[in-house]
């Protein structure tokens, strides 16, 4: 079943992403968080059974996190991006690892790097970072330079009072 028809069934508005280099069409649609699971199940049962990736984007100006669930169909040869928006001050969503097992790993990483909570995933916790004691580092307001200076002994720059050689 073509992605356009599934979008019509689900009453979702979609946009076409620009494609150069590759050739297949890519569709992106915004979904309400409570409708997402149903939408992914619908796509999965209609041939979109390759879960490519789950990406998180920190839209700090809008105070939102965007989660993009990316599916691909080898039969129809189409890409579908379903995105949901979560409030930035309390980002919480449910786990969807029962649909595709690799979602679990993406959720673990997004939990660690962006601080999004996924209810029902019992493997959240330390994944890539170890003994991390600051805000999740992939958030836009995390200042890497400041963190580096506070955490590790650093030699001050000349314009910050450091010595000339």
């Amino acid at each position: 079943m073509k992605a356009e028809d599934i979008f019509k069934d689900l009453e979702l508005k979609f946009e076409n992403l620009k494609v150069k280099g590759n050739t297949l069409p890519r569709y992106k649609a915004e979904v309400q968080p409570d409708k997402l699971e149903e939408a992914i199940i619908k796509f999965k049962s209609n041939g979109f059974n390759h879960f490519v990736a789950l990406s998180c984007i920190d839209w700090i100006k809008d105070e939102k996190f965007e989660l993009v669930y990316h599916l691909f169909s080898y039969e129809e040869k189409e890409d579908v991006f379903l995105s949901i928006f979560l409030p930035r001050n309390e980002p919480k969503y449910k786990t969807l690892r029962h649909l595709f097992p690799q979602i679990e790993t993406y959720e673990r990483e997004i939990h660690e790097m962006f601080g999004v909570e996924f209810e029902g995933n019992d493997r959240l916790g330390e994944f890539i970072l170890e003994d991390w004691d600051n805000m999740p580092p992939m958030r836009k307001d995390f200042d890497t330079v400041k963190y580096g200076k506070e955490k590790y002994e650093s030699v001050p720059l000349i314009n910050e009072g450091g010595e000339k050689e």
Binding site: L17, K18, V19, K20, G21, N22, T23, L24, R26, K28, N49, H50, F51, V52, A53, S55, C56, I57, D58, V68, H70, Y74, K77, D79, F81, F100, P101, Q102, E104, T105, Y106, F127, I128, L129, E130, P137, M138, K140, T144
Partner: protein, 375 residues
């Protein structure tokens, strides 16, 4: 017998990079496996948000050491999608040369590594030695041996040097002659026949759902390849086959697919196909400019939007999800590496029931590349 814990990695000859598997073992059978990344995290995705569109080209090849060029290609394709650029034909062909050379050199490393995991150490020495001829070509073409920083948004950095195609042809002839020796040493070796078939099996009906891509998926009997499914560069103009189980040509079909044996045979056959592709490129490459005229790198803004580009790397589907807010730097770039699924979920699941001695050959045959798991 009581279970005991075994750590494979982060420094271990049977691991494919700085990466660790924590195994729970009963006798010599694995009952549980957990992947532990974190030894290589360099924060590329964060760094990319603080560099201009052009500066990133010098950063991203470092994400994947054995095959850095795929990063440059997907990044360039992502930026070109947002900029709405059509690159010159010649640039597409030069990209194909770079990507196929990278595929051969990466497969040579994998074959060498895999052979080491089943105790055939000579193969690794030969393949690494032969890979050097490709690195010499890369050096002549790009000025660097490992990180080439050659594929730019809009085309490639410069045109082919004089006599490059003639040298490439020579190296291809040499490599083709060498395949026979690898066959004698590994692919027609009794050790390989006895140890590889039906070991480390990914269930065929689950393979796509688990996110298995590339040679690992083709070893399960699917003929899916991004070069054919979602073609890019010059691949639509070229004639090549997709080796997959059970179409192994002169090689015996042992085992039932989805196993170490099929995965390695697919890789071995892909080298032949890459040589075939490169020979066609040498004949067909058109004249013309090698790049578009690029904007001023310091004032280069990319229109706001989302783009996803994918290529077929030697390990599977490699993609970049590029998001721009219309600024001079990317707003967010998410790297979809093939090893993210192969190295964590797939390995954790299929490791159960494996013999300890077969664990290393399984992860080598899956070609798990730690750097693209944690970026």
């Amino acid at each position: 017998m009581k279970e005991f814990e075994l750590f494979v990695g982060p420094q271990h000859p049977g691991i494919t990079g700085n990466f660790m598997y924590h195994l729970w073992v009963d006798g010599d059978t694995i009952v549980k496996a957990e992947a532990h990344p974190g030894y290589l995290h360099r924060g590329f995705e964060k760094l990319m948000e603080r560099r201009t569109w052009q500066m990133n080209v010098a950063l991203i090849p470092r994400i994947c050491v054995p095959e850095p060029d795929v990063n440059e290609a997907v990044y360039a394709m992502g930026v070109e999608s947002l900029m709405d650029w059509d690159i010159p034909e010649r640039a597409k062909y030069i990209r194909t040369i770079v990507l196929e050379m990278a595929r051969i050199s990466s497969h040579l490393l994998t074959i060498g590594g895999y052979a080491g995991a089943i105790g055939l150490y000579t193969v690794g020495q030969w393949t690494v030695g032969d890979r050097d001829y490709l690195l010499d070509l890369f050096e002549q073409l790009t000025g660097a041996r490992v990180y080439h920083i050659f594929i730019f948004p809009g085309g490639v950095r410069w045109d082919l040097p004089d006599g490059f195609l003639r040298k490439l042809e020579k190296v291809l002839n040499y490599l083709e002659g060498r395949l026979e020796f690898y066959d004698k040493l590994l692919f027609a070796n009794e050790v390989f026949f006895r140890r590889a078939p039906d070991v480390g099996v990914v269930p065929k009906d689950k393979a796509i759902e688990w996110g298995v891509t590339g040679p690992n998926l083709r070893a399960c009997g699917y003929d899916y390849d991004v070069r054919k499914v979602d073609p890019y560069a010059a691949y639509p103009d070229l004639d090549f086959e997709i080796p997959h189980y059970p179409k192994f040509g002169d090689f015996d079909v042992l085992g039932h697919g989805c196993d170490c044996y099929s995965r390695m045979i697919v890789r071995r056959l892909e080298i032949e196909q890459s040589i075939k592709i490169l020979r066609q490129v040498i004949k067909k490459i058109p004249e013309g400019p090698h790049t578009l005229k690029l904007p001023n790198p310091l004032a280069w803004k990319v229109p706001a939007g989302y783009a996803y580009a994918r290529v077929e790397s030697s390990k599977g589907e490699y993609g970049y999800f590029v998001v721009s807010d219309g600024g001079k730097m990317p707003y967010r770039v998410h790297v979809r590496g093939p090893s993210y699924t192969h190295g964590i979920n797939v390995t954790e699941t299929i490791a159960k029931g494996l013999n300890i001695a077969d664990f290393s050959q399984t992860i080598f045959s899956l070609d798990v590349c730690a750097p693209d798991i944690e970026r």
